[in-house]
């Protein structure tokens, strides 16, 4: 039962990764692509990690995976803002 749930979560994770990559290709400008990257990939990684943690049934490893997700989440959100800011300031100064 947990394995079914884990499988579903892992597949949902892959789905969001795919969506993010497609967004990166389809969206027309840098800022819109950043939306796709941060929102879809962070959700994708989160679902995948919850799925893996359920599958592993080891709370200690699960917490470490959660730490990795938090690190990616915080770093990803910060990077996205910094890249957007970098681009925006350059636009304004040219």
């Amino acid at each position: 039962m947990t394995d079914i749930l884990a499988s579903l979560l892992i597949m949902a994770g892959l789905f969001f990764f795919m969506a993010g990559s497609i967004g990166l290709l389809r969206f027309p400008d840098l800022y819109s692509r950043l939306h796709a990257l941060t929102k879809a990939d962070n959700l994708g990684l989160g679902l995948l990690i919850i799925g893996l943690a359920l599958h592993l049934r080891d709370p200690l490893i699960a917490l470490k995976l959660l730490l990795i997700w938090l690190a990616v989440l915080a770093a990803g959100a910060t990077s996205a803002h910094l890249i957007a800011r970098h681009a925006r300031r350059r636009e304004k100064h040219v």
Binding site: I22, A36, K39, A84
Partner: protein
Amino acid sequence: MAQRISMPAGILARTVLFAALWWLITQGRADAWLVGVPAVALAVFASERLSSGALPRLSLIGLFGFLSLFLRESLSGGIDVARRTLEPKLRIAPGFSSYRLRIQDPRARVLLINCIGLLPGTLAADLDGDFAELHLLDADNNPDPQIRQLEQAIARLFNVPLETNDD
């Protein structure tokens, strides 16, 4: 203003946090503390040196409210952007807007800026004084209510009041 934790209590809080992280990274191995004690001490020292001031006293109920809002909103943010990318006809109308932050605490502001990027359709592209410049996936939607909701949750988390003079 927000309630602050005194400095010794702040060092204690950091030590507990980093010791817990060390325990987690090393997966609870007891013999790791030989390296762990100096590593945690160095991390506490660095964190204290880099800190902008005393730690705020976080509210536990506020944390619960913030986390549930955060998880709900990042889920809907991901679903929203996935829907937009996968639809045969790209239905986005990108644009910029400006949002006046009502929260004053610098830490709370940074948290808000970072979280805005995970909400559906919004991304903070710059922060200039009290104004955050937002990039919107769909400029026809007014993003302010959902950000205000997040801002309120962060204010409760940090135990700080929101300015409420104008809107």
